[in-house]
């Protein structure tokens, strides 16, 4: 079968672009948080250089095979999620493999990364890491409910589970799902807060209590790899949300604008909010976001 060279090119470039965009978003967030706290913050490329520094570290410590592979799990998950999300609508280059998978598959592949990470943290033997993982998983159960409710509502409303069909249905401005089923969007965005792990729900990596939680035992190239996968993963989740709710992106510029707008929501709420305890965050997710989710489904039912 002849190889569609454009597709192969797209498969190679997309993760790199995703990394670059993800890292710049990281840099921008640090600047914005600094500005809000009335200070100037580091240059935009600061995150990029941190990662480069980590990769060039002399000694790398690992506590066994599982910890060695943990960042690999993480980055595989983020790249695979990226491949199965149509980054730019019709272009052969940037739709990658999204024809092969669908929404439910994406729901699960997002968990694959965090599970791999958790195993690595487990092997490192650091109790703080283990506590962080237990908090992370409990919180995950919390925000999965509204997120699934939102996804189910959309799937039923549009009678498809494939992302590309969803994008096709949102061809012009007023057909965006954000308007067609607002409650689903609300529930999904609140769940998104939990996914990103910024301030109100950052009990997982609570720096003060459990020394940055799960990644506490990771250093050198492992930490670097984790940071890269984290940025790619953020970008992948953002494109996923834009595809579902904002009708995907025709070209690169609209993609950046939409994703950055979405990205600002968790970042800004993070800056102004203190930290929830784990059961508080779980209770929070099961309260209003779930109500919105149920409302979204009920609307579809009638």
């Amino acid at each position: 079968m002849e190889i569609n060279w454009l597709k192969v090119l797209g498969i190679l470039i997309t993760p790199v672009i995703a990394f670059i965009v993800g890292v710049t978003y990281g840099g921008l967030t640090r600047i914005i948080t600094a500005r809000i706290q009335n200070r100037f913050g580091p240059p935009v490329t600061q995150n990029f250089w941190d990662i480069v520094k980590l990769y060039s570290k002399k000694t790398n410590i690992q506590h066994g095979v599982m910890q060695h592979l943990a960042p690999v799990f993480a980055i595989t998950a983020s790249i695979t999620t990226l491949y199965f999300v149509p980054v730019i609508r019709e272009s052969t280059v940037f739709t990658n493999l999204s024809f092969q998978g669908d929404l439910i598959f994406l729901l699960y592949i997002m968990v694959f990364g965090s599970l791999g990470m958790a195993l690595g943290v487990g092997q490192s033997g650091n109790p703080n890491g283990a506590i962080g993982v237990s908090r992370g998983l409990s919180q995950m159960v919390g925000y999965e409910i509204p997120f699934v409710l939102a996804i189910v509502a959309i799937m039923i409303q549009f009678k498809t589970t494939n992302l590309n069909d969803l994008i096709a249905m949102q061809n012009n401005f007023n057909h965006w799902i954000i308007f067609q089923s607002p409650f689903a969007f609300l529930a999904a965005i609140l769940a998104f807060l939990g996914m990103m792990g910024y301030a109100p729900f950052d009990v997982v990596v609570a720096p003060a209590e459990i020394a940055s939680g799960p990644p506490s035992e990771f250093g050198g190239k492992y930490l670097g790899l984790m940071m890269t996968s984290r940025s790619i993963f953020t970008f992948a989740k953002l494109t996923l949300f834009t595809d579902i709710f904002l009708g995907g992106a025709g070209d690169f510029v609209t993609l950046v604008i939409k994703t950055f707008a979405l990205y600002m929501i968790p970042v800004l709420t993070g800056i102004v909010n203190p930290r929830f305890r784990t059961e508080q965050s779980i209770r929070f997710f099961w309260a209003w976001p779930t109500v919105f989710g149920i409302l979204a489904v009920l609307i579809v039912v009638w």
Binding site: G122, S134, E144, I156, N162
Partner: protein, 616 residues
Amino acid sequence: MFSISGIFITTFVSGLVAFLLHHSVPKIRDWFSIVIMGVIVYAVWELPVKANLLSFKLANYNLVFGNTEYGRLFALIVAVLGFFAILYSKDFMEGKPRLGYFYMAFFFSIGGMFGIVYSQDLISLFFFWEIMTWSSFLLVIYCCKEAQKIGLKYFVFSAIGAYSIMTAMVVLYSSIGSLQFADVFAGFGKMDFWSQLLVVVLLLMGFGVKSATMPLHVWAPGAYRITPSSFTAIFSGALSKMGIFGIGLTLFKIASATGFYPWVQEILAWIGALTALFATFYAVFATDAKTLLAYSSIGQLGYIVTGLAIGTPLSIAAALFLTVMHAIFKGMLFLATGAVYYRTGTTDMTKVSGLIRKMPYTFLTALFGIITVSGVPPLAGFSGKWMLYESLIQSNHYFLVVVIFFSSTAAFLYLYRYIFSLFLGQEEKETENVKEVPWLMRIPMLLLALATLVFGVAPGLLLHPVSAAMKYLGDFGVTYQTSVLFNEWGNKVDMLTVANTIGVVFIIVTIIITIKGYRSTRYVTTKDIHTSGEVPTENENLTYAVDFYKPFERALGSVLKASVDKIYNATGRILEQSFDYLRYVYTGNGQTYAMYVVLFLTILVVFSELIFGIKL
């Protein structure tokens, strides 16, 4: 040898021979059972699919045995899992007492399961159902004094289940006149409403006990924990499938002919979903690994019951696919826990930790196990879960989807806890000299792990027999290719591309990260960690094992207090006391007995008009 009677005879006779042989040279006994089981697996595979292979008349009922596609699927599960368990138990049971008793009960329960799966009429099904029950009972009480109460509870619950099937059979016989599957399925539609309802409820209850659906699951955690691990794999892998086999038959062959079928489906679906939900909650807070796995398998059975209850072709395919997968990964996980028990002597998660470096193969099996159970893509669990969700969404069971999804995400919690507390974390002092389990125990575990990978990449291989079985149930067709799954709306997921992408990316990045600075990466023991200053001493184990999900528990709050178990124990005690008062009727005084006789006579005379309808 390759007829049905051949299979039955070899299984039961080899059970007896194993019992008699256990005094002789152990070498023969173990290999004898392994060889026999291998022959049986081949025989089951070869058995032609014909409805009436063996039948004999017995006091105006005739018992018919035949092999149907649906039966063949379950028979294969039983045979293959049985073979692996026997292979595993050769070393696992080394040096344990009463080995002959163990092998006899083992073979009898497998024979019982074959009987159920191959029977074509209710009497033979009930006959072998009872054999399966009491032989598995013998294995539940096998180990120790503490097992007696649990065994008794198991027997009483299975007796309640079996006797509800018996009552259903009696009702069917009195209104249809024959208990052959063909006549029952045909004649069921003509029965009056109330007896139809009664029969369906009784059959579902009877089969529900064995597949541990919620209100009747109370026996399962104790029974799974106390049976020797090699049989627990069969117990949860194959025995519970007999319940599913029965529920499948009742739903699609019997209940579908009735008017209230949609109601039955709806209620059963919700029962399955709630079973999954509550079982997962109990699993999260279990401290013993086997109890955790027991609740987890109750949860998985809940999914299968929901799948069957939904009734769309895709959901039945999902249910049957998950049945086979459940047998595989539950078998795997119980064998892995058994390996841990074999080496460390305990399965209490708070006592054991850090076994990964000493038991790598067992860790690998457990890893594959939890990935499959959690339904994460590359492995087979995902296809089952995917089909289940698609079918739920397409058949407009919205809130059911959410409950199922909630319980499957909560499944991550206890799965992580299982592998973390047993294999990861810091090494225990006592488990210093633990070695990997012998090869004969590793082979079944690794083969099962391989199976999850193979079916993960190409679910079509398993969907082929599953769709054949579905044809027997009620000619439901489902479209599939060897590695691409479709749902009713035409969306698809290509497992091959998924596996390829994950595989390729994984290998490339592993190569990069291992090569980059290979020399400078240093292995350090788990004691050498950043603990802000105070370095942990040698015998101090910092693994966080106790109260692992305390915050989650606080979030759930009082939901966990409600447990059906308390109610059952209370009823048992009250009944026992009431029987106590009853026997005081026998006062021991001869004269009172004489008084009873005269009283009886006078009552008969005085109330004769009432009793005999004749005026004095």
